[in-house]
Subunit: 217 residues, 2 copies
DNA sequence: ATATATTTTTAGATTTGTCTAAAAATAAAG
DNA sequence: CTTTATTTTTAGACAAATCTAAAAATATAT
């Protein structure tokens, strides 16, 4: 399987082109920053190889085989992200591009060993689940902090707004990736939240809360 | 710089096509398991990009720029080999193929971090020196054990014969990669060697000695 | 429902890296 | 110093992945 074929499979997967949902040619073209005509060509090839089911003008969806392939690529991508953050001290927002390259390295033993070396992590640095070797996904929803219910606890796994000012704000108030956050109170008036983080209780605005992703297992 | 271009540069480097020594088209073709005509084409391109100096029918040699590039690729290759052996518990004879893929990953920060993470190693698992970031090579000769002088000490860094029987022999007699070996005596009669290894003194045949590489710093 | 707009596909061209087969240059041998 | 053999280069073709421009199918709007 080609580097490029893998990229297409992954794109279709991320657009949700699985379990009977069909994905349009244009959507894939946009996702991959290429032209629709190129997409049609590649889809033809993937269809012949039975990674996708394709009907002219009706879009594509992954076959079982294609989805398995997609999950294996996603697994590699996310494991490498964990490696970069946990072992090489990259910050979670600079690993994507490199993982995009590393995910194409071909060696089953390499991925198995890497997985063990990292302690078989279940989530990547952005809080997204890592598919198991057999392709199972831990189905946990990552949600915005303002959607978390009262007295529930979540782990901070990412940001929606990744602008420098926002990241600086988080840094200043001691909110970091991996921190455990409990929602103590919700103000009806302006939607601001009283939260517990690192054994301190602080008040944060709705705008902050609606840009912070947490995972509640 | 393309994946393929990098492969050619590396091949020329390994054939010694540096410092005024020219390498023949056929030699490159053989090394890369491709055809001479393909080599000519690629050499043209590399010549235009000034990575090699090329005169028709006279072979090629790397320019300063090309050599720098080659050293950077070799550096990546060998650092990844160390990673695979030291961190992922690969054995030193199964890492080459994977490192061949990993050496093409593009990220300066990645290699710098990897280097630090591994403790800035000076040699790869085969005993070959790892070029520094600026392209300097520790010039130590790796030699066969039977070429080591009396009372000199070397570190076991590889084998010439990598057949299963030989590796089994080494295992059985407790000779492993990284072991310190001192040559205590040489028998004129049959060339066998009395060596000290792991605080034990043993006698090994010339045939064994002439298939074991050591590094004497 | 018919005209218009959008999406998707086709047809033909391009680039990269490769190949085969034939021609040209160099090296080796008598 | 010719003739033969080897090496290297050219010429032309091919597969992969892409693009542009035009045609075909589908969707939208009045």
């Amino acid at each position: 399987m080609t580097h490029s074929e893998e990229d297409y499979i992954k794109a279709i997967y991320h657009l949700g082109g699985t379990e009977n949902k069909r994905v349009s040619t244009n959507a894939i073209a946009e996702q991959m920053e290429t032209k629709a005509s190129s997409v049609t060509d590649m889809i033809r090839k993937l269809s012949e190889k039975e990674y996708v089911s394709y009907k002219k003008y009706q879009g594509v969806s992954l076959t079982d085989n294609g989805e398995k392939k997609a999950l294996s690529i996603v697994r590699k991508h996310r494991l490498w992200e964990v490696f970069l953050v946990d072992k090489l001290d990259f910050s979670w927002d600079e690993v994507h591009e490199i993982a995009e390259q590393l995910e194409h390295i071909k060696s089953e033993k390499l991925i198995d060993s890497l997985d063990k070396h990292l302690g078989c992590p279940k989530f990547d640095p952005h809080g997204d689940p890592i598919p198991s070797k057999s392709g199972e996904l831990t189905k946990t929803t990552k949600k915005l902090l303002n959607e978390v219910e009262l007295n529930q606890t979540g782990i901070c796994v990412g940001v929606k707004d990744s602008s420098a000012p926002f990241l600086k704000f988080l840094d200043k108030h001691g909110i970091a990736l991996g921190d455990k956050i409990t929602v103590l109170d919700k103000e009806d008036f302006d939607g601001s939240l009283q939260i517990n983080i690192n054994d301190k209780s602080i008040l944060i605005s709705h705008q902050i809360a609606s840009n912070l992703y947490v995972r509640c297992d």
